[in-house]
């Protein structure tokens, strides 16, 4: 039986490269970042990860909501126009 009309398969970018939705981008100021992971936890998209010196953002999918800036207690994220 052909199940393709009713079964959907796991896909990253199910709605495309949502980075293109952005008007503003969050930019990490590495020297201020304490890697507290607040932005990692609160990012609705799950596109922030802890990197070598600071957190890193996957701009392919970051929708630019700005929540990361709001939850950063170190003020290590600024929002800049695209």
């Amino acid at each position: 039986m052909d199940l393709s009309p009713i079964i959907s398969k796991k896909t990253v970018a199910s709605a495309g490269e949502t980075g293109s939705w952005r008007n503003y981008r969050p930019a990490v100021i590495a020297e201020l970042c304490s890697k507290c992971r607040n932005c990692v936890l609160y990012c609705p998209e799950g596109v922030i990860s802890v990197g070598e010196n600071s957190v890193e953002i996957d701009y392919n999918f970051c929708k630019g909501c700005g929540i990361c800036k709001e939850v950063c207690e170190q003020r290590a994220i600024e929002i800049v126009p695209e």
């Binding site: 959907s8 199910s14 949502t18 609160y42 909501c65 929540i67």
Partner: protein, 278 residues
């Protein structure tokens, strides 16, 4: 559980809560109609890295109960998760109540954005008093239904309220529910930027102000009711922020000072009622 590049709006609290599902092992999601249906992926794509069973609006708990019962019989370990908005909790209330009374072995997560958002912000039973929606353009006049308290009255095995403003507390509650058995219910407050009319970066801020003003109470029950650490101090009125600070949303822009005092009264009554059970 939710993968990047999904269809959620900017600053979506449901997407934030969905990410926390990684605290629950072997989840099988049952999702009725709502924003979550769209976020979870449009055919032929699924935005989730686990199984999702899409179902009609009022059926969520009964489909979840069937899955849970069948897994038990065929010896499959699973955490069946009935994941729904306040809309599905409204229309599926009879099934929710029956499932709680049967103590079905499943986790219910209601992501409550206080209106029917996916159809365009119509009033739900959860809509905040006096809030403007597309079906209550002059402000909602009915009561705000307290779903978690109703679940407490069913003596559910676990009942918790949570908020996307307190994600560590929320994750802890998901984790706790995930290792328990029986009927587990978590009511998550999910402020919605387009529905409540506030900027997308303010989701967490608004969620926290709901708790800090006393408008959303964080508590849990596992045989005994207790206030959650993250919000317990707001039981005392003097610790709360002014309600006006929370109400800085488009849906409340019509309120007079007198109406805001009425809302404060309502909030006090909710605290009083809840604390009678503690």
């Amino acid at each position: 559980m939710i993968l990047p590049g999904n269809a959620s709006c900017q600053g979506c609290p449901i997407s934030m809560a969905m990410r926390c599902l990684d605290e629950i092992s072997k989840p099988v999601l049952v999702i009725p109609a709502g924003c979550s249906t769209v976020i979870a992926g449009l055919h032929p794509k699924s935005a989730m890295n686990g199984p999702v069973v899409h179902v009609p609006f009022p059926s969520t708990h009964s489909v979840a109960a069937g899955l849970s019962e069948a897994y038990k019989r065929i010896g499959v370990k699973a955490n069946v998760v009935a994941w729904m908005g306040d809309g599905a909790a409204d229309i599926g209330f009879a099934a929710l109540s029956a499932s709680a009374a049967r103590k079905d072995d499943l986790i219910t997560i209601v992501v409550d954005n206080e209106a029917y958002m996916n159809t365009g912000t119509q009033a739900s039973l959860s809509t905040f008093w006096k809030a403007r929606t597309t079906t209550s353009p002059a402000g909602k006049t009915e009561e705000r239904r307290n779903l978690a308290l109703i679940m407490l009255a069913h003596k559910a095995d676990y009942v918790a309220t949570a908020s996307v403003g307190y994600i560590r507390d929320l994750r802890r509650k998901f984790r706790k529910a995930g290792v328990m058995k029986g009927f587990r219910f978590i009511h998550v407050h999910t402020p919605c930027p387009p529905g409540w009319k506030f900027p997308s970066e303010k989701t967490v801020d608004v969620a926290r102000k709901a708790v800090m003003s006393g408008a959303w109470i964080l508590w849990e029950y596992d045989g005994k009711l207790k206030l959650s650490k993250a919000g317990e101090k707001y039981a005392s009125k003097e610790n709360r922020i002014p309600l006006e600070d929370y109400l800085k949303q488009g849906r409340f822009s019509h309120l007079s000072d007198e109406e805001i005092r009425e809302l404060e009264q309502k909030i006090d009554e909710d605290w009083e009622l809840l604390l009678r059970f503690s």
